[in-house]
């Protein structure tokens, strides 16, 4: 279907494309091992976050949590804010985003263009400064509504009801699903759906490993695991550093013509790891992974060109996923 009543109805239904050049070679007669990319950058605002944004707003409207003209307050490092800004505009809400100041300039410009207001929390102050900023805002505006993507079941449900069924329809022979681990919504929702339908499927997480500056914690007890996270849905979890993420992001565009953001490079890195294991073990594999967004928003980092060392340095201290 290629005609929709509004942009909101055009969310999801993204293409799944084969990666014949990046898929590992197998010996003649050996079972095929193939990589497939789910192009989530083809969503209305250019990222996978359009799905949860739409589901969270709809759920809040249906439950009465959101009423026309309300202000939504959401802490976000980028894509969710952009997606929410579009949904809020079309559904008649005001959006205020709290975000760290060390995100790319394009994200800020996009948010403002879509009509969101932004409150920055200083990167240098670490998480404690962000906590202080957020507490202050919440105290000043008790009527503002939070959707809270890290603990909102509608985030995971968006993927259970859309991403999962789309993948099964397009790739019934799927053996592995690989996605990024942030709010955990994509992996929890898609993973639960696929585990119910596909025997033996492996759900694999790729977690970005940022530079030291980004963590900004003072002790272990300040750590956080999103409320949505359920480890039993996952089979494996990889930590992918900046260098590997950049290398794979460049390979995506150089080898397969897919221009993606760095989190997608991290996801490809984990997908290639499981694909190569399947080749080594002589097992058939159809590995589907998520292209979370396009590369446009990250061009200003300069990390698409120059040496890998330069790129690593350029992304140090940035939230690249």
């Amino acid at each position: 279907m290629a005609r929709y009543e509004s942009l909101l109805d055009a969310c999801g239904g993204t293409p799944l494309v084969g990666l014949p050049r990046l898929s590992p070679a197998v010996d003649e007669g050996a079972p095929p091992v193939r990589l497939w990319a789910k192009l989530e950058d083809r969503n209305p605002t250019g990222s996978v976050k359009d799905r949860p944004a739409l589901f969270m707003v709809r759920e809040a409207e249906e439950s009465g949590h959101l009423r026309p003209g309300d202000t939504i307050l959401e802490p976000t490092s980028g894509n969710t804010g952009i997606a929410l800004a579009m949904v809020a505009k079309l559904r008649g809400y005001r959006l205020v985003c709290v975000m760290p100041e060390n995100v790319s300039a394009e994200r800020v410009q996009l948010l403002r263009m879509y009509g969101a207001e932004i409150i920055f929390s200083p990167a240098a102050g670490g998480s404690n400064q962000a906590v202080a900023t957020a507490k202050q805002i919440a105290a000043e505006h008790p009527d503002w509504k939070m959707l809270f993507q890290y603990g909102n079941p509608a985030n995971a449900r968006a993927h259970y009801e859309t991403t999962g069924p789309e993948l099964l329809h397009d790739l019934p022979t799927i053996t592995h699903f690989v996605a990024g681990l942030g709010t955990t919504g994509t992996l929890m929702g898609t993973g639960r759906f696929l585990k119910e339908k596909v025997e033996g499927i492996q759900i694999v997480a790729a977690e970005p490993r940022y530079g030291e500056l980004v963590y900004g914690l003072r002790n272990i007890d300040e750590g956080y695991v999103p409320e949505l996270y359920d480890a039993t849905v996952l089979d494996r979890r990889f930590s992918v550093g900046t260098r590997d993420a950049v290398l794979r992001t460049r390979q995506l565009v150089e080898v397969e013509g897919i221009f993606a953001g760095f989190s997608s490079g991290a996801i490809l890195h984990a997908a290639l790891a499981v694909a190569h294991e399947a080749v080594r073990d002589g097992r058939r594999a159809d590995v589907a992974f998520v292209i979370a967004d396009g590369g446009w928003k990250y061009l200003s980092t300069g990390a698409y060109g120059g040496t890998l060392n330069d790129a690593e340095e350029a992304l140090e201290g940035q939230l690249w996923a």
């Binding site: 802490p75 976000t76 490092s77 962000a130 809270f148 963590y215 900004g216 272990i220 956080y224």
Partner: protein, 118 residues
């Protein structure tokens, strides 16, 4: 058996400031015991009094989460690379702000890493 262990900033008070230390052991438990012998107190930050891996600590063997490799019983080999990281997801600052707005999650006291396990 030499195993390289990467230590996050918040735990370097136990390693004299070292970012990378070496240890040995054929399981993760054995490795942590060996590390604790050299860097007293480190084990208490990684393992709970009940004997499990601390909820907000992630340990990776060659970039893979040990919780999916047998957790503390995970088998280790010479030359393996171990990374210890605090649990963060989706950007530390974003979720910290979110947690503050929601409120119910107990906020950690502003103490040094030397404070006792909560």
């Amino acid at each position: 058996m030499a195993i390289e262990v990467r230590v996050p900033t918040i735990l370097r008070s136990y390693t004299g400031g070292s970012k990378v230390v070496e240890g040995s052991g054929d399981t993760l438990t054995a490795l942590i015991d060996d590390l604790d012998a050299k860097h007293s107190g480190l084990k208490g930050r990684l393992i709970t009094p009940e004997g499990g891996l601390h909820r907000f600590v992630n340990i990776y063997v060659n970039d893979e989460d040990v919780r999916f490799l047998g957790a503390l019983d995970a088998k280790l080999n010479d030359g393996d690379s171990i990374t210890i990281l605090p649990a963060v997801a989706g950007g530390a600052l974003g979720f910290a702000a979110a947690a503050a707005l929601l409120g119910p999650r107990p906020t950690a006291p502003a103490t040094t890493p030397d404070s006792t396990e909560g």
